[in-house]
Amino acid sequence: MKYSIFSLARAALSGHKNWQRTWRDAAPKDRYDVVIIGGGGHGLATAWFLASEFGMKNVAVLEKGWIGSGNAGRNTTIIRSNYGLPGNTGFYELSMKLWERMEQDLNYNAMVSQRGVLNLYHSDAQRDAYARRGNTMRINGIDAELLDQPALKKMLPFLNFDHARFPVQGGLLQRRGGTARHDAVAWGYAHAASELGVDIIQNCEVTGFVRDANGKVTGVETSRGRIGAGKVGMAVAGSSSRVADMAGLRLPIESHVLQAFVSEAIKPLIPGVMTFGAGHFYVSQSDKGGLVFGGDIDGYNSYAQRGNLPVMEDVCEGGMAIIPMIGRVRLLRQWGGIMDMSMDGSPIIDKTPVDGLYLNAGWCYGGFKATPGSGLVFAHLIARDESHKEAARFRLDRFRTGAVIDEKGQGAQPNLH
């Protein structure tokens, strides 16, 4: 169905009893041209781009649970494109531009809100580093503004400007950054993909790969039977190593838990997204009023989707350092998601050494903002068997060749990225 102001009015006048389903819950067919493993944002976006951009409509998305039940539903909903290294800068801006037209493309309200992303700086050295990053962004056609303290005081008077250890000196602002409604992103791609004939198959766990005599992947074994496939794409985030293992692959990835938090609802307080530059704390305010925030990953391998208290304390201390008044706000909920932490902190979108198997992984804790871009470049790779130009550096073999993309310069220690 097509959503519009008229469909909304019609539904309202009939007591909201006649809404059609947003997307079609399909049963598996015997064979598809492309099977995407993982019904999160990336998998659904990939299926939609395959159908809409590359004319491949015989596509299935297989999801172990329900769509959007992994990290698509466990993030802090931030979108931005303020990256500094070749490879990342262009890719995330591609994704940002797709966010800006997503709702029109999908005919679905994903509540994309370009309310700005502000990274605070707390020292002269950090100001210089942010100026450099802002310049990198502007050279690449991305908006960035370096704000000094007087400008910030007008904008956010409640910040702890005179903190004894980490005074707020200013910030780097990307006005086009912001937030989006995370569930609606998954639902929107499901809606649009389903309209184009993509089968979205839930409660369908992949348990193995079907290979021919040459080792080429020709299908998947699932909890709902064998499904043949011309090509298989993996977009399973924190489960990447487990699924790759079924095809005999070891990946440069560790799975770690990242916690996120939401407070009780309060009146409008924080206009955009803000990050603490001297620790790790980022916060925005949801349209329902809750402060949505997070910080570092816990730092140890985990598949448990829950974290521990020391990181919770650390995150809240970061928040208190820049916005002391939020100490009076009560925490409402807290959750954890499993991040596919790569060895250089950047993603992998590439063919694998196994013929017919394509990999989309290593998003660390930055996967949400990448959703539309990831879908486009992964669909490009699967449909054309060559990398999209904005994803050409996200190669699986870059760890062997040394062409790593390490924004933080931390080396091959995933829990430090």
Partner: protein
């Protein structure tokens, strides 16, 4: 999650720092590129019980080998692992 340090007793997680999987062993100097690539970058990333190296920086400053289930965070064993942080070189 609490870790029972063999030297200090049961301590809270914040005292410990994680290094990672205890299985990778630094290859000998003449082992070749493949072995180094494997050691530096590839991980089993086990979903289940794994041995891992932790450092008790907030306590006795000893390296420990902790046996932990990554699906549940249950710790089934902790033992001293002197020198683990330096990563032993294969003989």
């Amino acid at each position: 999650m609490r870790i029972i340090c063999p030297f200090c007793g049961e301590r809270e997680l914040g005292e410990f720092t994680y290094l990672g999987d205890a299985k990778p062993v630094r290859p000998a100097a003449d082992a070749g590129e493949d072995a180094v690539y494997d050691y530096v970058y590839l991980r089993d990333n086990i979903a289940g019980v794994m041995d891992e190296n932790w450092y008790h920086g907030g306590g006795c400053r000893a390296w420990l080998k902790v046996t932990r289930n990554t699906l549940t965070h249950e710790i089934s064993g902790v033992e001293a692992a002197a020198g683990a942080g330096a990563r032993q070189v294969a003989k």
